[in-house]
Symmetry: C2
Subunit: 306 residues, 2 copies
Amino acid sequence: MVKLLGDSDLTGQDVMARAIDVMELAFRARLDNKIVSPPRHHVSFGEHGDLVFTVGGILGEAPLAGFRVYDTFQNSKQSQIVAVWSPDKGRLKGLVLGERLGAIRTGAIGGVAIRHLSSENARSVAVIGSGVQARTQLAAAVAVRTISSVRVYSRDLVNRKAFAQEMQRDLNVEVTPVESVAKATTDADIVICATSSRSPKLHAADLTPGAHVNTVGPKLVEGHEIGFDVADTAKIIATDAPEQTRAYASPFFLAGTRHENRMVDLAEFVSIPSRTRSSSQDITLFCSVGLAGTEVLLASVLLDAF
Amino acid sequence: MVKLLGDSDLTGQDVMARAIDVMELAFRARLDNKIVSPPRHHVSFGEHGDLVFTVGGILGEAPLAGFRVYDTFQNSKQSQIVAVWSPDKGRLKGLVLGERLGAIRTGAIGGVAIRHLSSENARSVAVIGSGVQARTQLAAAVAVRTISSVRVYSRDLVNRKAFAQEMQRDLNVEVTPVESVAKATTDADIVICATSSRSPKLHAADLTPGAHVNTVGPKLVEGHEIGFDVADTAKIIATDAPEQTRAYASPFFLAGTRHENRMVDLAEFVSIPSRTRSSSQDITLFCSVGLAGTEVLLASVLLDAF
């Protein structure tokens, strides 16, 4: 029978550390044009919604092929499937089911951004939001920097307290719930914005010089979780999938602004050692989009490890 | 965890009987425009080959959505995945892995064709070929007609003897290996041609008046397992997926011939009771192509049964 992993297999900080290494490899392969990542494929089932396929993989010495599929059905139970083949052997390596793999993947890409864009001496993290993406982004930050304090703000008191308790336990770092965005971001070296808000929750005035921001939530013209002023103040704006920012059905929030053409591919920071923040006072911004094909690479490594 | 079936779960004649019922429903739904079956989606992984997705399902009272994926990699181990969602509930119903589901599906469509096109009094079957498709087509024939004798011819003596022994045991009907196509087809009411041959193995002269032919193997202009003379002599030519015959990369073998426009959708024979063979002397021909979406419907029924 085919090898099969589920959400309960994908826990622990070693999974995140391994995932970040995989994403580093993916970005290097991307600049070498070895990553296969065609646009997403949608099939509509009328009023119910779509099945969406991100097919992709990597060519070269140890090639991989596969896909992730998710649904946009009403009342979706978020049952994603990732499948991986070794195309040179014609063999299905296995399947990963559930929603954790996608969140870990996105967290790990955030970790790559933090590794290459934040200050090497970053010690404090602000987290805006308390959902799955906020958790995996924080886990990634802790994996790549020596973090000594975390403050979390989210609208709901219960949620931010639960987040603080659980993350403190899981990551072995002090996590404090606070009552406002400003209280979280004051003096924070790294700011993780991971909400589902379509109106700006984070503004330039909230940021300390030298801060690095990861935005994981909505980033469309019709709704975005960070203010345009954050982009205005950022010395560097990077993204993991420049093509995808141009392929959204609704325009990307920086489309048509002066920032559109200065967005840099995160792959360049990974592959070109000299490309990094130039001053300790710079604000940097990473817009997380989701590079296709990376789920397949991560699934492959996890399947090999089990 | 998600429900999961494999090849070993899909055995026995009750699976075939159930599959034929599902295909009857699918063809009825197709004429009502309730079947979702967009063209296949190919993604290339360079020299290795493609992943191919047939996405599809059914709309209406008990909607289903899903896909089948298979690879065209060299040395492929034929590891297919079929996944089924209940889109109205946003729920992944389960997965079926392996290659049996696809073969049963194709056999069951062949069974629908035999039920609606062959003589009701058909008793004898000729099988050309001894592979997986030959087996499921014969199982389908036995499920819809009272078959008393089967003769099988395939090039390889060992293969045709093994086919005869195993099918006789599995289907509880007399199966005799013979030394030529003509010896198999003499007086046969039903002829199953299921080879991988690109040069005609079956000709009009091999057929007895009143015979019905299912062709499952290659049917392209550049190579086809039955002669054009079989099409010439056939009073009725039907197919399960007329659009797919026009969507092949290489043209369908009847493209550009006088037969192209007289091909009838099998769905019409299923849905219109009066539409059937008109004379007991007619030769009829079914060209099996593979209606997309039907794998999802069959997988759903099998998942429900387990």
